[in-house]
Symmetry: C2
Subunit: 237 residues, 2 copies
């Protein structure tokens, strides 16, 4: 029997046209499409994208539990459970494609699952299909270079330690702050204090129908941006 | 007359299947394909990719001069010359698609050209089509997450100041060193000295037929890697 493959497939930032040809081909050939259940905020958009480009007819949509918790025991047990659901399909010779917005190896739940699937499905292949990231889509929307020549780009998840955001502002020529929704006021204050407010752009859902650009971050104070929001600061602009 | 568009189109890292649907569609609809001439090492690969996926029949291939020099006057004059070649086609109502490996806003000559084209073609639109980057392709080839949860990713062009490479090693959880070909021995020494040699991977031309992975950087000493080489260091691996 042909060895089944567990794929992590990046479906791009949200615009269906930004899927790669490879993502389309792999998804067409996969009878099982795995998605993280509800708690992963990109799942429904990722499914919507492939519904339009590839079609879901005849495919099993396998919802995997990924609870939003910091409890390590709960996390490990849910990842094991998700992996066993995947492994079951692989053992039947079916390719399973785990879909993720953006790229499967940049802040995706795919990478959490890989070690558990590898353990349960020793004979199966695991492959990632890279995708266009949300920050590339944001840069294109802004027509803003992320890097030229000798410039450094630092990508920072801003939902955790504010001190790391502060450090980041002096550590590279371009700084991409992801997950800015929870602390937008404090982050804006830091950017103002660093004298970088004129160099900062807020982008939400680049490439989605509801994409949004805000060029003066101060107007966001007191608002509640959504999970798919980022700030790009380019000093040499 | 319809306004012509100047596109910067990312054709992905080198594997033709990693082009986006949008890149294919934009290139099909562009009668002029602009490429940086010879000195840009990705041009011939980028053209090869679209020859296979889109076809070049009936299209003008517009080679643009981008000399490899640090002389600012020469650089500015060649960019102006390149922009005027583009502007000439735009003024005839023809869309021009400037193709670039990876993403048009990540270390691409496209962004150098934009201000000059904007000046000469005030009425024309300028749009970027994002692409899969070389570092996403490398991560997929390695099946190595670039970032999970709260991890930072720092992308550093390593061909300029070695001191910046050294700083980078302690500034993020994942470090991507681009353009490592010119100083591979010194970079390897820095990584060894930082105790990160077991966490470092060398990848060349990910997704190309001649792709290469080296898991022990020390074996590269004294060799001459090519321009499309990078090192990824993931501390939490």
């Amino acid at each position: 029997m042909k060895t089944a493959v567990f794929y992590g497939v990046g479906v791009g930032p949200g615009d269906p046209e930004l899927m790669t040809l490879k993502a389309v081909n792999v998804l067409k050939a996969s009878p099982v499409i795995a998605v993280p259940r509800s708690s992963d905020k990109g799942s429904s958009r990722a499914l919507e994208i492939i519904r339009g480009t590839v079609g879901l007819e005849g495919k099993e949509i396998l919802e995997l539990p990924f609870p939003m918790t910091k409890d390590k025991a709960v996390l490990e047990s849910s990842r094991k459970q998700a992996a066993s659901l995947v492994a079951e399909r692989l053992s039947q010779g079916k390719n399973v494609a785990f879909i993720t917005l953006g790229d499967p190896l940049v802040f995706s739940t795919f990478s959490y699952l890989v070690p558990f699937v590898r353990e349960l499905s020793a004979g199966c292949a695991i492959r990632a299909v890279p995708g266009v990231t949300s920050f590339s889509a944001a840069a294109s929307l802004l027509a803003l270079p992320l890097a030229e020549t000798d410039e450094r780009v630092l990508i920072v998840p801003a939902a955790y330690e504010l001190e790391k955001v502060k450090q980041a502002l002096s550590a590279a020529e371009t700084i991409v702050l992801m997950k800015v929704n929870k602390a937008i006021d404090a982050i804006t204050d830091l950017i103002v204090d660093s004298g970088l407010i004129e160099k900062a752009f807020f982008v939400s859902r680049a490439g989605w129908p509801e994409e949004e650009v805000v060029t003066d971050l101060r107007t966001l104070k007191g608002t509640k941006p959504d999970y798919f929001s980022m700030i790009i600061i380019r000093k040499n602009g």
